[in-house]
């Protein structure tokens, strides 16, 4: 349990000035990192050292550092969010690494997630998918009392399981096809399992899938990597539900 010191680490990291420039890998050395530090704290320390040396610090996305906002998005040593399970990059700790190791850090790679700078990618595609139908069409006010429609306990739980998605994009990053099916299916399932969302379920599935295709995500081949790498363990059974909703909706028209 006691924290140790990693004397030396090599950080091989993708550097890219902006969206239009060509990027390349750079390797930096960092010394004396506590195993109790989080991965992003290590990056903070590295950045402060780079600043001192007059090198432009590495840009990476991060915000809440509690594993819930979904901002952080690093592909570390070949895995989204690095070598731990059920965590985001910000919850990954240095005790998962060995002294002297070379750690490769890359941005999410997908046509739909272009790199903005260094390790930061543009995930606007997710926004567009949700804007295509990831909501219940109700205005503020004029809604019935919250207890008017009972919802089966299991349905509420299953809905919550899917609603736990943080929209980080690890599913896309992990998928060999850069498919966004887990993300889309999580929202479709979250709402389809509740009576309030059921009303528009078919239309929602149709519109969101159409938008997803339009934005250049790949197709799902059911490898299941998304579920394993998802920091919130969103299940691929949601993808089955999305397939079902979509096929029924398409074939019944």
């Amino acid at each position: 349990m006691a924290d140790k010191i990693l004397k030396k680490l090599n950080i091989k990291v993708w550097r890219q000035k902006n969206a239009s420039s060509k990027g390349k890998f750079e390797t930096y050395t960092i010394e004396n990192i506590s195993t109790g530090s989080s991965f992003l704290e290590m990056m903070d320390i590295l950045n402060n050292e780079l600043i001192e040396k007059g090198i432009d610090p590495i840009a990476f996305d991060h915000d809440c550092r509690e594993g819930i906002c979904g901002t952080c998005s690093l592909y570390i040593n070949g895995r989204p969010h690095g070598p731990d399970t059920e965590v985001t990059t910000c919850q990954l700790h240095m005790r998962k690494f060995k002294d002297g190791e070379t750690i490769t850090v890359e941005p999410w790679r997908a046509a739909a997630f272009p790199v903005i700078k260094d390790l930061i990618v543009d995930r606007t595609a997710f926004e567009k998918i949700l804007q295509a139908g990831g909501f219940v069409s109700v205005n503020t006010g004029g809604v019935p009392d919250a207890n008017t429609i009972p919802v089966a306990y299991e349905d509420a739980e299953e809905s919550m399981d899917a609603a736990a998605c943080i929209g980080c994009g690890a599913c896309v990053a992990a998928c060999k096809n850069s498919s966004a099916m887990l993300f889309v299916s999580a929202k479709v399932s979250h709402l389809a399992k509740l009576p309030q969302g059921q009303v528009e379920a078919k239309k929602r599935a149709r519109n969101m899938v159409a938008k997803m295709d339009e934005l250049g995500f790949g197709g799902c081949t059911n490898t299941g990597a998304c579920e394993v790498e998802c920091p919130k363990s969103i299940s691929i059974t949601n993808i089955a539900r999305l397939n079902r909703e979509y096929l029924v909706s398409r074939l019944s028209r």
Partner: protein
């Protein structure tokens, strides 16, 4: 329909439907072929082969089957190309082994290898039976004269160890392909949930193992026995 097939889920739908069709064919094909190893005289197998060759229903199914293969194969290349385009810049370091099975990530590779096997398999048997029947001997079973398909198959395996291993490999490749393909088809059709996930996977694995062992057993039998 074109709109349906232009959507990612529609495209996948076609793969899974043709896949399941081929799964059904393989079950029939394996059952019939296993007759090879249960009767050294070849009578049973020849009867079976003759039944298939003369049955009008099978005659109708034959071109459909060809179409099924064709769509499943060609479509897979198209889909793979689509998916490949979705990641123009590749990762420098990948570590995917913990998150997904090798077979699931390499369905195209497995499928392509199975296709190579299939072509040679067709040249070995189907082609001869269909278009070159005069090279085959005939046999009379129960008063009916029919082509001696058993000898055609048995001679190939008896005559070449290499072919035996090639066919064993073919069975194993198909098994791997099915280990992912079977349950994946049901997942794509939306016929899955948290209870059925494990069941489909178990059934799929069992089927894949039966197919792999079943097809491999035939050349293995000839290899060991003769």
């Amino acid at each position: 329909m074109s709109k349906f097939l232009a959507a990612s889920i529609g495209r996948k739908f076609l793969m899974s439907i043709t896949g399941l069709f081929l799964v059904a064919f393989i079950a029939v094909h394996l059952t019939l072929n296993l007759l090879l190893i249960f009767d050294d005289s070849g009578e049973l197998f020849n009867l079976g082969a003759n039944f298939m060759a003369t049955n009008p229903a099978i005659k109708i199914m034959e071109p459909l089957l060809g179409l099924g293969f064709l769509i499943h194969i060609l479509w897979s290349f198209y889909l793979e190309f689509q998916n490949w385009k979705a990641r123009p810049v590749k990762y420098d370091k990948k570590n995917m082994s913990g998150a997904s099975s090798w077979a699931s990530r390499n369905m195209l590779v497995l499928g392509a290898l199975v296709m190579v096997f299939l072509i040679i398999h067709i040249i070995n048997f189907f082609w001869v039976i269909k278009f070159d029947p005069h090279t085959m001997s005939t046999i009379v079973i129960g008063g009916e004269e029919m082509e001696d398909t058993y000898t055609l198959v048995a001679d190939l395996f008896k005559g070449s160890v290499a072919y035996c291993f090639f066919y064993i490999l073919g069975g194993l490749l198909l098994g791997f392909h099915l280990s992912h393909g079977f349950w994946s088809a049901f997942q794509t059709l939306g016929l899955n949930n948290k209870y059925w996930m494990k069941r489909w996977q178990a059934i799929g694995y069992a089927y894949a193992i039966i197919v792999a062992i079943g097809f491999a057993a035939i050349p293995l039998y000839f290899l060991v026995k003769f």
